[in-house]
């Protein structure tokens, strides 16, 4: 009996090839767009994250100056005359004096993949008559590279040259252009404390982030310590790379228990990155669901027409003893088959579209082609959503078929 219903459903499907194909195509279109939109958005988010993490660490450890300023007058009452004389502001220790201990603690955690010590200084760059304010990062080249993959962003020169060139500096591309220096040129650097030093440009770097390319340069960490007049174990920041960047807040709070400094996950430092990712996901989902819903209406329409067309056959089937349950099966099965085929072809087409876009040129910033992610979950979600849509779109016409009153139809001849 089940197979009889199946047979009827298939004969109906195959006898109206054109309509079935049109219905299927609407699913194909919906599902493939779902796959493409979400693969594209995932790709954009991934590339955005990668770009952001080229300059932003997953977790940053630094010594934060206490915010609260104790007011000496806060304890005074209205009827008492307070007299403050010779008020002194104590200087808090900045930076992390003994970084090697902290690095050892950090590296003891299994989540931590790499740690990079940095001495960050506010400086002004000068070359000839041009003077530009910026930031100089004293870094350990190997450790920095392990955290940020910095060497990947070199335009000219070699990142490793910082290891053995105490006078070497790697300058952001925009900064170099504004200063008018090229490889091998000299740059004078002055700290806010008045310490000056001349560096030789050994490389140009480009992150495609204007605020960084226009004001940042890298030198060896020991030179940074010298210029800031700090001890040999001093750092201003420890940049930490962890296994799963999305778990940064959890890892940070775990680390904080063992480290007497501020441990800051990237979400705190750059909330808009997270917000951007989530908003893009919402947009992709909304657009693809809208397309699927339109496909659903198409199927609903076609199935409804089929039921109207076949209403006499439904009546006769009912007279012969097929009950309302059989009718639901016969007509719902057609929708489900359309959904299944549409889903299979749709995910395949979605993959092909994604692949074509993935290989289309998009030479902007550090990109070469459009970013596309290939994630199984996107395909599974597209397939399942397509099936659910066709199922829902098929239920109403199938119910209509099951409620046909055979007497009314057969008498009305």
């Amino acid at each position: 009996m089940k197979s009889t219903n199946t047979k009827i459903a298939f004969v109906y499907l195959t006898s109206r090839v054109k309509q079935s194909v049109v219905a299927m195509l609407s699913v194909v279109f919906g599902v493939s767009m779902y796959v493409f939109m979400n693969s594209f958005m995932t790709g954009v988010n991934d590339i955005q994250t990668t770009l952001a993490f080229s300059t932003l660490a997953h977790v940053r450890v630094h010594n934060e100056t206490p915010m609260e300023e104790v007011s000496l007058l806060s304890g005074a009452k209205e009827d008492i005359i307070a007299h403050v004389r010779n008020k002194k502001n104590l200087q808090f220790t900045t930076g992390i004096r003994h970084s090697s201990e902290t690095i050892k603690v950090l590296e003891g955690f299994s989540n931590v993949e790499a740690v990079a010590p940095e001495v960050n200084l506010t400086v002004s760059y000068r070359s000839g008559a041009t003077k530009i304010n910026g930031a100089l990062a004293g870094v350990d080249p190997d450790m920095e590279d392990a955290v940020f993959d910095t060497s990947h962003y070199m335009v000219t020169g070699r990142w490793e040259d910082l290891r053995h060139r105490p006078d070497g500096i790697i300058v952001g591309k925009t900064l170099a252009e504004n200063l008018g220096v090229t490889m091998g040129g000299d740059v004078h650097v002055a700290t806010t404390e008045g310490v000056t030093r001349t560096f030789n440009v050994v490389g140009i770097i480009k992150f495609a982030v204007r605020s960084i390319d226009g004001r940042k340069a890298f030198a060896n960490i020991n030179i940074g310590r010298q210029m800031g007049a700090h001890n040999a174990d001093y750092v201003t920041d420890l940049q930490v790379r962890i296994a799963d960047f999305s778990s940064a807040p959890a890892v940070a709070s775990k680390l904080a228990a063992f480290i007497p400094y501020t441990v800051e996950p990237w979400q705190e430092a750059s909330g808009q990155l997270e917000a951007g990712s989530q908003l893009r996901n919402v947009i992709a989902l909304a657009v693809s669901l809208a397309i699927l819903i339109v496909a659903g209406f198409g199927i609903y329409n076609i199935m409804n027409m089929t039921v109207s067309e076949k209403i006499r056959e439904i009546a006769i089937l009912n007279a012969m003893g097929f009950d309302s349950g059989d009718m639901v099966i016969i007509f719902l099965m057609q929708s489900v088959v359309i959904g299944l085929f549409g889903g299979i072809v749709g995910t395949t087409l979605g993959f092909i579209i994604s692949w074509i876009v993935d290989n289309s040129a998009f030479p902007v910033a550090t990109l070469e082609t459009y970013p596309i992610a290939y994630e199984v979950s996107n395909y599974v979600m597209a397939f399942v959503s397509g099936l659910i849509t066709t199922f829902i779109a098929g239920v109403l016409p199938a119910r209509k078929a099951s409620r046909v009153d055979p007497v009314e139809i057969l008498r009305g001849t």
Binding site: M1, I316, L317, G321, F322, D323, V407, L410
Partner: protein, 226 residues
């Protein structure tokens, strides 16, 4: 059932239409049909003969009164149960053949038996071929029904009504849409079924010549048997 020969019994059947206004179509109709009887229901247009047939066939459940088929009271059965009952015990032939046009003749004949699911597909197929053979359509068994002529289609419909060896075959103007020659063929088939196989047949017709050849004629007028 007192009389085992009585295969269908309707008692005090009253049927009303509510649209466009309340109207009693069938007024207290009682009718017994005996096994093997070839019965014609005749009457003028609007006399309620078709309505009566649909009540007797269990398809119309919206009436007052009692209905028993093969000793089984059918009042109070759900639509699903009635569908299963029709499948097994009642065969239909309509004015229009109502075959499924995208199926072959033999598939159409087999459908009710496949639904009943009491015999294997091979047995059903054999049985269907026998029936088609007996009405001279064996050579058209594998043809799609929309390729057949009107008379052939109606004969396939008769074959379909017989596949589950029903208690009663019900006809609603089975020859109403056919020319004289085909009317004669269908009529001969039905007669043969009744005489030789003892098949109970109830049919609505306005063809007095057709009705005249039946065992019994029930004439309806304004919802009453006269």
């Amino acid at each position: 059932m007192e009389d085992p020969k009585i295969i269908l019994s309707a008692r005090s059947v009253v049927k009303r239409f509510y649209e466009p206004q309340e109207f009693e179509v069938l007024k207290n109709i009682s009718l017994n049909i005996q096994s093997g009887e070839f019965l014609a229901i005749v009457g003028k247009s609007g006399s309620g003969k078709t309505t009566l047939l649909y009540v007797l066939s269990t398809m119309d459940t919206d009436f007052e009164g009692e209905l028993e088929v093969r000793g089984k009271n059918l009042r109070g059965m759900t639509r699903k149960q009635l569908a299963a009952f029709r499948n097994e015990h009642i065969g239909f032939v309509f004015q229009f053949h109502y075959l499924l046009p995208d199926f072959t003749a033999i598939d159409n004949v087999m459908l009710p038996a496949m639904k009943l699911n009491k015999r294997s597909k091979e047995e059903v197929r054999e049985h269907a071929l026998d029936i088609l053979d007996s009405i001279g359509l064996k050579n058209l068994a594998e043809k799609k029904t929309n390729m057949l002529s009107g008379g052939e289609q109606q004969r396939v419909a008769v074959a379909r009504s017989l596949i589950n060896d029903p208690a009663i075959v019900m006809g609603d103007e089975p020859t109403g849409n056919l020319d004289n020659r085909n009317t004669q063929i269908i009529f001969d088939i039905l007669c043969e079924l009744a005489r030789i196989r003892g098949q109970t047949i109830v049919t609505v017709t306005h063809d007095s010549e057709f009705a005249g050849k039946c065992d019994r004629i029930v004439e309806l007028s304004d919802g009453r048997i006269v």
